[in-house]
Structures are given as structure tokens and as C-alpha cells.
């Protein structure tokens, strides 16, 4: 099982997205200028400011070379998750309905939001508890979901609204508190919150991991749950066996001073994952 994370010039959440994917699958970066999806089973389009977000967020990235393949992949039923800027790119590319507009308050908003799971029966949410509330951060200036009223009615009736900001927690003025939508075919999912920043209790919430785990589970067919819930605190990887044979595994970091070592005795949670993160400075 291999996930690919698109890397545009201006992407800034591509590494976190790869680390999140690496919790549940192998992962490779997909360079924007390539025309090669490297036989991945799913594509994640990460957050950031692709091509500077010039003109409109996602408007130019949508025509990047790799997007030809991503769009073909999606049209053929391949699973694509667009996060934040990736959501904007998917909308611009016509893979998802609607558009993202400047936040009503014109401000960059960066905070944890509470999300209602509206549709637990998608490939991206199937391993989450129905009715779950997810705590996941948002960080954007252009996140106000818009679609014409009739389209919003249609999306709601068809179960294509997957996530909503909890009442009173809409950070951007999105119509009907919409935080995440899925296409009619159910294989392209876009959301403004950043599940890749919520995959470890260390950062306050691991509620985002369930979305990656759901996708893995959906693509694995009947091989059983990949993730297990641990109490209410979140998720952890249930099965890590059978994934040997990979080189280049990073060693846990050595503590660089005595005082802080007590907090660093636990190996870094991603230290045994195939993806080698950028050096920590």
C-alpha cells in the first residue's frame, strides 16, 4: 500500500502529510513537475501556498504537470485527499464542487477547531465513530466554503458534506459550516482542517489519524482495521508487522543536552517509519 503526497513549490505541509501517511502506509513524494504517480494507491494534495497562490488559491497549481495524472487518477476512481490548499486545488480542478473564498473576517486563522462527522460512511471516514467530534487544527486565510444554495442543498441531500465545524466554531464563514466535502463518486475528499497536524497526542490531538487510517482500510479491502482507537485519546497503529526490508530507517535522535533528556527517552514516534523526515535542527 503506497500513498503519494504531491509537492508543489510553495507546499508547506507536505512533510507532515507524508509523516501522517507513513503511519498507515508507505509513502512517496510526488514532484509537481513530474508526470508520474509512481503507482501509488492514493494521492494526498497537501496544504501550503502552491505556486504562491497567485491569482487565486490553487488556480495555477491546478495546471501543474503532475495534476494531469492526478486528475486522470481521480476520474478513474483513484482516491484523492485534498487538505487545505489541496482542497482549493481540487475545487479549482473541478474534482470537487464549490470554491474557497477569503475568510469573512479577512484574517489568517490558526487554531484547533471542533468538527462534526456528518458522513461516517465514506472511504475517508469509515473507521471513525459515527457522531464523533474531531479536534483538528485549521490554519488558513482562504477557507470560506462557498457553493450556490441549490448546490449546497444537493450536496447535503447526497451525503457529500462530510465534515462540519461544530456549532459556534466556524472559523472562516463557510456556508452551512461546511469543513469538508466529498465528490459524488466518493473518491475525492477535500477539507480545510489539517488532519496531518493531528496524528499524535504529543501535539494535542490524534483525531486526524483516523482519516488516513480510514483511507488505508478502504483500500485494503477486507484485511481488517489498520488503526485501533485507544480510549478517547485517539489512534495508534495496530499492525506494524510484515513491513520489513526497508532501508534508511532513521535512528532516534540523541538528546543534545542532559536537562532535556528525560523528556526524550521515548523514541520519536516516527523514527521507525520508512519516510526519512528532513533533518531536525
Amino acid at each position: 500500500m503506497k500513498f503519494g503526497v504531491v509537492v508543489f513549490p510553495g507546499s508547506c505541509d507536505d512533510v507532515d502529510a507524508q509523516l501522517a501517511c507513513a503511519r498507515v502506509a508507505d509513502v512517496v513524494p510526488l514532484w509537481h513537475a513530474d508526470h508520474d504517480l509512481q503507482s501509488v494507491d492514493a494521492v494526498v494534495i497537501p496544504g501550503g501556498f502552491s505556486y504562491g497562490d497567485y491569482l487565486r488559491a490553487g488556480a495555477i497549481a491546478r495546471f501543474a504537470p503532475i495534476m494531469t495524472e492526478v486528475i486522470d487518477f481521480a476520474r478513474a476512481g483513484g482516491h484523492v485527499m485534498g487538505i487545505c490548499n489541496g482542497f482549493q486545488v481540487c475545487c479549482e480542478a473541478g474534482l470537487l464542487p464549490g470554491a474557497l473564498l477569503t475568510n469573512t473576517n479577512l484574517r489568517f486563522v490558526c487554531r484547533q477547531v471542533s468538527l462534526e462527522l456528518v458522513n461516517p460512511d465514506t472511504a475517508f471516514t469509515r473507521s471513525l465513530d459515527p457522531g464523533a467530534r474531531l479536534s483538528i487544527p485549521v490554519k488558513h486565510t482562504t477557507g470560506r466554503y462557498y457553493a450556490p444554495d441549490a448546490e449546497l442543498d444537493r450536496l447535503e441531500a447526497a451525503g457529500q458534506v462530510v465534515l462540519r465545524y461544530a456549532p459556534g466554531d466556524n472559523p472562516n464563514g463557510s456556508l452551512r459550516d461546511i469543513a469538508g466535502v466529498i465528490n459524488e463518486q466518493g473518491n475525492v475528499f477535500g477539507l480545510m482542517p489539517h488532519p496531518e497536524h493531528a496524528v499524535d497526542p504529543l501535539t494535542g490531538s490524534s483525531d486526524g489519524l483516523g482519516l488516513f487510517g480510514s483511507l488505508r482500510e478502504s483500500l485494503s479491502g477486507s484485511s481488517g482495521p489498520v488503526l485501533v482507537g485507544i480510549a478517547k485519546s485517539g489512534w495508534s497503529v495496530a499492525e506494524r508487522g510484515g513491513r520489513g526490508g526497508r532501508g534508511g530507517v532513521a535512528e532516534p535522535r540523541e538528546p543534545d543536552d542532559g536537562d532535556a533528556s528525560a523528556t526524550r527517552q521515548r523514541p520519536h514516534p516516527t523514527s521507525d517509519l520508512p519516510y526519512r523526515a528532513r533533518p531536525v535542527v
Partner: protein
């Protein structure tokens, strides 16, 4: 050939930039200002102006949220 493309937020779509500018104008003492909307002006040189509508549809505007107007396409 020189051309100008005006891109505007569609009618009915909340334009918080316009609203902010409207409030600022009011604070400056300009009375009777309303319906401030902020769009974008794109200037370009183009050999074949017949291609401008397609440029607008595909890239320069997002037809779902914006309307566009092509100006001065004649030389």
C-alpha cells in the same frame, strides 16, 4: 494587442474586502457610500484576442464565484 480583463466577485457573494473598505470610507467621513465590491484588473498583451474568453474561463476567473469582463480588446 492590449487587453484588460476585469474580474469581480459575483453578485450575492459576500465580499469582506469590499465591506472593510466601505467601513473605512465611512470612518473617513465619506457619507453615502455603499455596495463596495473589490475585484481584480488584469492587463495583458495578446496576439489573438479571440482566445481571451477561454483564458478567462479556464484560468483568469473562476466562473463559479467570479464574473469577468473583457475591455479594450480592440487595438
Amino acid at each position: 494587442m492590449h487587453a484588460r480583463v476585469l474580474v469581480r466577485p459575483k453578485a450575492g457573494i459576500l465580499d469582506p474586502q469590499g465591506a472593510a473598505a466601505e467601513r473605512a470610507l465611512s470612518q473617513l467621513g465619506f457619507a453615502g457610500v455603499s455596495e463596495v465590491r473589490i475585484g481584480r484588473l488584469i492587463e495583458l498583451e495578446v496576439v489573438d484576442p479571440a482566445t481571451l474568453p477561454e483564458m478567462c474561463e479556464r484560468l483568469l476567473a473562476n466562473p463559479l464565484i467570479e464574473e469577468y469582463e473583457i475591455l479594450h480588446a480592440a487595438s
